[in-house]
């Protein structure tokens, strides 16, 4: 009998089919000694302060320009660790697969996960697979949890101080715009790629150069508008940003123009923001610009003790306004 090309409910049943799926697809791609032990739980050697995070990925479409849900699931969790100054070490990985999902697509996604893992050196050491009946999930959901060794303790939103400079690592809004253009219904032709990337290598460079980082955060859902607003509220400070210093590529701007969005509200998956003492800012930007993917890194603003809890966006012609948190679903303007 020919091997099934689609996921069957039996692939999640705990029997032979499940063992084959896990052995042939997951273990081959994520191969490492801890995983191969196949115990109920991974036994890890952790030392010192450890960062621990989890995230679930439910993106539609699963494949987009510049990545797929697998790359996203690894980069997303690894980046959450990196933003705490932690070296990503061990990840868990849970798959919820809809019955009928093509096995070839699953292989592509898993291989993209394995490739992304290499960039941080982290390993998947445990996992879980569930198959749900057709209609109960949108193709594939992935959950990843990660732990990492904190290399530089004290990087925290609470360390942000008035006078700090705010650095943006690269141009914004690419992931949100790439997903939008790939969505059925928009049918936009575009060369735009998501910024989806693992950030640990660049963070490692900054830490190695002993840059005094107060806070770091990757600007995922809600874009930089969300990060900056969260910072102002958590640290009880104000942040002033200059619109003309925020890099936005033409295609992202085009999507925003067409649909009435603003680039600071759009999601990113490989872009981060740093708050650090003003005197350290230029050295940090220089290191980032030398590193791949961050050539447009720039100082975009300053932390202040005015307008506590608010982000103020300064226009190139001298007016200013609050940069609010994005609201609700991203829906296009009507006319």
């Amino acid at each position: 009998m020919a091997k099934p090309t689609q996921i069957q409910l039996s692939h999640g049943g705990g029997g032979r089919e499940m063992a084959e799926l896990i052995g042939k697809i997951f273990f081959d791609a994520f191969d490492n000694p801890i995983l191969r032990r196949e115990e109920d739980a991974a036994a890890l050697n952790l030392s010192g302060q450890t960062a621990f995070t989890t995230d679930s990925f439910t993106v539609a479409p699963l494949f987009f320009q510049g990545g797929d849900i697998g790359k996203l699931a690894i980069a997303g969790t690894v980046n959450d660790l990196a933003m705490m100054g932690a070296e990503p070490q061990y990840l868990s990985c849970g798959f919820i697969i809809e019955e009928g999902f093509e096995i070839d697509k699953l292989k592509t996604i898993v291989s993209s996960m394995a490739k992304e893992l290499e960039k941080s050196g982290a390993h998947i050491v445990c996992g879980d697979t569930k198959v749900v009946p057709k209609g109960c999930a949108d193709g594939l959901f992935i959950n990843t949890t990660g732990v990492g060794r904190i290399v530089r303790p004290g990087i925290s939103v609470r360390a942000i101080q008035p006078g700090d400079a705010v650095i943006l690592s690269r141009d914004i809004g690419r992931h949100g715009a790439a997903i939008l253009t790939a969505r059925e219904g928009l049918e936009l032709e575009s060369e735009l790629t998501s910024d989806c990337a693992t950030l640990w290598p660049v963070v490692q460079q900054l830490l190695a150069a002993n840059i005094d980082i107060h806070a770091m955060r990757d600007a995922t859902r809600g874009g930089i508008a969300a990060v900056l607003n969260e910072w102002t509220k958590a640290a009880n400070v104000g942040i002033d940003v200059e619109e003309k210093l925020i890099p936005v590529c033409d295609e992202v701007r085009g999507v925003c123009e067409l649909y009435g969005f603003e680039p600071w509200d759009l999601a990113n998956e490989g872009t981060f923001v740093i708050a650090l003492p003003k005197q350290a800012a230029e050295a940090a930007v220089e290191i980032m610009q030398r590193h791949g993917g961050c050539d447009s890194a720039a100082i975009i603003g300053t932390v202040s003790d005015e307008h506590a809890g608010k982000v103020v966006l300064h226009s190139p012609w001298g007016s200013k306004r609050y940069l609010e948190l994005p609201q609700g679903e991203l829906l296009p303007r009507i006319c």
Binding site: L186, G260, S319, E324, Q327, L331
Partner: protein, 374 residues
Amino acid sequence: MPELQLKQLYDGFRDPETINELARQIKQWASQLTEPVYMMEVCGGHTHTIMKYGLPQLLPDNIHFIHGPGCPVCIMPKERIDQAAALASIDDVILVTLGDMIRVPGSQGSLAQFRAKGCDIRPVYQPLDALKIAQENPTKTVIFFAIGFETSTPMTAVLLEQAEKLGLENLLFHINHVLVPPAIDAVMADQETKVNAFIGPSHVSVITGSKIYQPTVDKYHTPVVISGFEPVDVMQSILAIVKQKVEGRAELENQYQRAVTEQGNLVAQQKVDKFFEVRDSFRWRGLGPIPSSALKLLSEFAHRDAEIRFAARLPVKEIDDHKACQCGDILRGKANPKDCKVFGRGCTPQTPLGSCMVSSEGACNAYYRYAGVE
């Protein structure tokens, strides 16, 4: 020839030097005004531009903006949302509508809340998406909840034309298309109105032509300047209005000449005329019933009219806004969003009491998002 980049299309319209020079000229002319200018930007898109780009901060104190009724979401009365919700609640119905509409509160909740309860409600990016949904769901009835001013009516007409051509019987329409000129008349009919100039909605004029505002100029002796949506467009239009006021003129001017002609898009106008006729009256949120201010399907397309097909199931009770909500006064230009007692407190974009707070084009939403930096 090198390919034209998108950036080239808007960069000049957001050029800081041009904006600052226009601000300087406006100030110079405005110093000669004998009375303040209260200009109504009828269109929510202009409200959005004015607030988003912080234009009032560049202008002298004798220039005031009044935010008019030109946002299709803001002016939708609750009973029409209730009708949409009632349609969506019928078994095997898929309700399709545009953007922000799903967040507007009806008396029983918003369409987003009805969607969460299990109704099949789909926001789309363009009306023609409804065609595909109808084709892919032949056993269901797809109802397009059509909204918008003269700008978006032709797109509904094209959708209807396609449905007819393909003989797609499961695509119906609930028509809520409204017209700008009667709304302007309703605003000006108020004896207390301060409005003495208009920034004209240019996307409407792309379809209808600039000619539709000539009666406004003649009847009320107010300048009307049809304006584009970029900050330079709006600043140039403000300058034109101030000049007219200083020189004692009241004329129709077309700042948006790159897209608007006197006659407009005749093909689009023909398509609208082919499928629609003017309703006797339509109730606007905040403004009440306005005669001849909206469209309905021509009787020969009654087979596609959800208002007729499902008449028995549609609630017709007229429902006013929350007592504390001043959307009506704001749409009439009698109040500013910040005058409203619930603005930013009981009424926020997350928990809107009135529709001006829901839509990204609404005056309250624009004030909430962009204004307030001291």
